[in-house]
Amino acid sequence: MTSPASHWREALAQGRFLLQRAGDGSAIFPPRLAAPGSGTDDLEWIEASGLGTVYTLSWVQRRPPAEPYNVALIDLDEGARLMSRVEGMTPETLRIGQRVSAFIDSSGEQPVLLFRAWED
């Protein structure tokens, strides 16, 4: 038995982006033991499409010459919302409403879920 959070991290390390889906069809993130609100535990794992839309974003400023980086809340097409970063964009090009697609950055110590711009 692995915990939901551990299961999610293990999947990410294997290059898979998972979400949980509750009996009523709603998508859940972060992973939980039971659906938030109802407490029902009939959750199933699904592969996320990775597609989403930028709901809101902020550019965190750094002392030059370091470039600012963005922190964004992404609304996944499945319905869940999460925090991430959209790579390859600038304060001039990244807007709320931008369609994005997830990818897993495995270059660091821990794999990290990131997003890049996507054209439907």
């Binding site: 972060p30 974003l57 550019w59 965190v60 922190v71 809340l73 919302r81 925090m83 821990q110």
Partner: protein, 383 residues
């Protein structure tokens, strides 16, 4: 059932602030103890009469124990609720119910921090959760920036609107001797201020100061015979909708919508009845969101409401009449200072005293717009 509240049956009997601004050499414990002793004396009570302690300190998770020990209290009940800067409004709700029930007779609610003199940064050991932290949001600032950015996108709120909040706070602070940040603050100052996490600049952020605050609550019938004019508590409600901003359903609507409506229902008042509002302004967007969520203006109109001058001196709804967390003080958690300014307005002892205040609202915010708590204070005429 639910939300049955002893309207007006308990009151703030004593209050005090101490060391607001810079108080080098004092520990957080010492600042808080001094405010507590001043509040007890203000009520005309003595320390042994305190039989319940409500406290939340920035750097001491066992403050309920350590502070009781410092003052030599052996409380019947100790409450260390820490929902962030809103904790003190929750403390008041619990204290009121316990006083009414006769479980306790005299509640001391206290807070203090030396965060300015001791490092000059927000004193907190709380950080982003494990799901958010890989993306390095500034804690807690970027969460508020995410709310502000969405509010701008949805409702056309501008940086000028946010600046109007900071400028109103400064205008109030300029005539409050206790306020830490004084002097002119122009639109140009705000718009050209160093950006931290878009759209929040330095001028959208609360101060980092020292300071302590304390109140003493008793049943109103007892407070009537004490040294200071009692300030009855008419309603108090707290609501928690999320912890991480990523888990909000709508970042432009906070749980203040729930806590405010419930507290006002308990008090039997509606937003137009409130004569002054003291809103926890950790960032300028807070004031905009809480004005909307508490019902002082429609959702989305907060920016235009503040830019109209409504909350500034001379406006239709005086807000943060001490200068708020933006210009009066912000020792890490501001909630109790908002309560005290509301109570002072009702007592008639505020630095920027407004005429004939019978109803005042104080609203606390905790976490990253996560926990919201509202109290309604009245004069004895409202009981």
């Amino acid at each position: 059932m639910g939300d049955i509240f002893p309207r007006g049956r308990t009151a703030i009997a004593g209050l005090a602030t101490f060391g607001v601004g810079e108080t080098p050499g004092y520990s957080s414990m010492e600042l808080t103890a001094k405010a507590a002793l001043l509040a007890v004396a203000d009520a005309g009570l003595t320390l042994p009469e305190v039989d319940a302690l409500f406290i939340c300190q920035p750097d001491d998770f066992f403050a309920g124990l350590s502070f009781a020990e410092y003052l030599g209290l052996q409380p019947r009940y100790t409450d260390n609720n820490r929902t962030g800067g809103s904790a003190f409004m929750s403390h008041m709700a619990v204290a009121a119910l316990m006083l009414e029930a006769g479980y306790i007779d005299c509640a001391l609610i206290a807070y203090g921090s030396n965060q300015r003199s001791n490092g000059g940064k927000l004193a907190t050991k709380i950080t982003s959760n494990a799901w958010d932290s890989p993306y390095a949001p500034l804690f807690p600032l970027t969460s508020y920036a995410l709310a502000a950015a969405r509010h701008m996108h949805e409702f056309g709120t501008t940086r000028e609107d946010l600046a109007a909040v900071a400028m109103a706070a400064r205008a109030w602070a300029n005539t409050n001797p206790e306020a830490f940040a004084k002097g002119p603050l122009t639109m140009e100052d705000c718009l050209s201020a160093r950006m931290i996490s878009t759209p929040i600049s330095v001028r959208d952020c609360c101060l980092v100061t020292d300071g302590a605050a304390a109140i003493v609550m008793t049943r109103t019938d007892r407070a009537r015979d004490l040294a200071a004019a009692p300030v009855p508590l008419l309603g108090a409600a707290a609501a928690t909708w999320w912890n991480s901003i990523a888990q909000s359903k709508d970042v432009t609507v906070t749980a203040a919508k729930e806590s405010g409506a419930r507290a006002m229902a308990m008090a039997g008042v509606t937003p137009p009845d409130i004569q002054t509002a003291q809103l926890y302004d950790a960032f300028t967007i807070n004031t905009v969101l809480f004005l909307e969520d508490l019902g002082f203006c429609p959702k989305g109109e907060g920016g235009r409401f503040v830019s109209s001058g409504a909350i500034a001196p001379g406006g239709s709804l005086p807000v943060n009449t001490n200068g708020g967390g933006l210009s009066c003080c912000h020792p890490g958690m501001y909630g109790l200072f908002a309560v005290i300014e509301a109570a002072r307005q009702i007592r008639g002892s505020a630095a920027n005293q407004l005429p004939g205040i019978d109803l005042a609202l104080a609203h606390g915010n905790g976490g990253t717009l996560s926990s919201q708590a509202t109290v309604i204070l009245g004069s004895m005429a409202t009981v």
